[in-house]
């Protein structure tokens, strides 16, 4: 509880408070993040500035240490959970102020696969980075993906599979999208512990993402290219 802390958030100047938020996200301290977001709002920070400089930057650091094998799933889940608390306050404010959006993603595990730990992490990290994500859960036949992509007006499709018996279904989804003539409308990212880059290429995905942090980096890169194409 905050009265036992040696740090009083409201007494910190802005720059130190933001740094403290990075540390607190890293430690998964949900109450402290909530408090700090409210303090910054009281200090008249733009919601979008709080999102990017405090929360997204904090999660970026968490992502780096996750990628480098310093943090593991439990710590990342706690950090993402803390982030979520802050986002809850910011989300309606962001909508009001018309803050920029990075892109939209549909994500789900393929038919036969219930292992959604990885894709839930990706969802949280993508949201943490400012993407909108529609998580369609587990065990998705190809129709679910196609319908969701249309309904959500998505830019990116993310698929996850963890088992030898479910990995090939990713190709079924991509082939069906080709048949429907919609394959090239989306960036397709695939993930799952046993996969690798070569596998992603062989089934026709745009990229394989080793973990949630890489997924965010890759998605940003593809969205950047897309925007460049549009403006060119």
């Amino acid at each position: 509880m905050s009265e036992e802390d040696d740090i009083v958030l409201s007494e910190l100047p802005d720059d130190e408070l933001v740094q403290q938020m990075h540390d607190d996200l890293y430690d998964g301290l949900a109450d402290e993040i909530l408090e700090a977001v409210n303090i910054l709002l009281e200090r008249k920070w733009e919601p979008y500035k709080i999102l990017t400089e405090a929360l997204v930057e904090g999660m970026r650091i968490v992502g780096i240490d996750f990628r480098d094998g310093i943090l593991f799933v439990p710590e990342v889940l706690l950090a993402a959970n803390a982030m979520k608390g802050g986002m809850k306050i910011l989300k309606p404010l962001l909508a009001e102020t018309g803050a920029p959006r990075l892109g939209k993603m549909v994500i789900g595990t393929v038919k036969g696969d219930i292992h959604d730990i990885g894709q839930n992490l990706v969802t949280m990290m993508m949201e943490g980075a400012g993407f909108e994500v529609m998580n369609i859960g587990i065990n998705n036949p190809v129709e679910n993906y196609v319908d969701a992509l249309k309904e959500f007006d998505a830019d990116i499709l993310g698929m996850s599979a963890l088992l030898t018996t479910t990995m090939p279904y990713m190709k079924v989804v991509i082939d069906t999208m080709k048949d429907l003539g919609i394959r090239d409308d989306y960036v397709i990212l695939v993930g799952g512990a046993p996969l690798n880059e070569e596998f992603g290429k062989a089934i026709g995905a745009d990229a394989y993402c080793r973990d949630a942090a890489v997924a965010v980096e890759t998605a940003k890169e593809f969205m950047g290219r897309k925007h460049n194409q549009l403006s060119a």
Binding site: D68, F72, I114, I117, Y169, A193
Partner: protein, 339 residues
Amino acid sequence: MTNLLETMLADRGWLLGDGATGTNLFNLGLEAGEAPELWNFDEPGKIKALYEGAIYAGSDIFLTNTFGGNASRLKLHGLEKRVHEVNKVAAEIGREAVDASGRQVIVAGSMGPTGEIMQPVGTLSHADAVEMFEEQARGLVDGGADVLWVETISAPEEFAAAAEAIGRVGAPWVGTMSFDTAGRTMMGLTSVNMVEMVDGLDHAPIAFGANCGVGASDLLRTVLGFSSTKTKRPIVAKGNAGIPKYVDGHIHYDGTPELMAEYALLARDAGAMIIGGCCGTMPVHLEKMRAALENTAPRPRPDLEAITQALGGFSSPEDGTEAKSAIAPRERRRRRSQA
């Protein structure tokens, strides 16, 4: 009371496990996304053929087709009310296959993860996890499994829940975890952490170890971590036959039978007593592994360099067991008093 596994381990010193289930079921005609557990009812002949593949390739132990046989996973296929039956039937087919072979082979009842994250980080409670595992364990024991075999676990909490469930059933068991994230489990557990965790269990497994994960090299590094603790508990090594590739509409793991034979020898040299394969390991691999283990005398304990030379590099420079890590902890501003 000693069971068949302990007796055979004492007599032989090493035992050959089995190979993959998914890969071999694909080779028997399973379609992507289909529930392998359904075949226990619909294609018992093919499940018997799966087991016979291991039995006649020389395996001393094989796992039942029940990896996804807990209520959480079976729910996906509308089978959550038939947990006991799915598991019992799979074990019965296994018994039949062994009896017909005339060989002494152990039927191990496979129990995979629930697929959910346990509290406090996730939502699955300890009590619910224990209940799910117990239901599955009973089915396997009632079907005639000699031992239960918990595998591919990432969270120590889930491993402990399985231990408690199997304790309630009173069955002997073996438990392995998957070290697929920078040499640790997804939840951050190192090989040495696992030894400590297993030693602390009330109903501890007869043997413990690693399965699946990234590749054969990583798995052997994990085995070296286990054996470095000088644990007396037999160690299991079940590594993948290389890494998965997509070739002509099929998943193909790139590890050759010769490579897996060398892996088997290295696993024994590293301290493993139960040696098998995981994803991608087929009967042709098992035959070579058996021949290698029978015809080659144990060699000195390999170091990391020897493993790299024989099987290729590791997926990460460290695995969390180093006395002095090159990875510096992130510098922090101030520590919170209670953090």
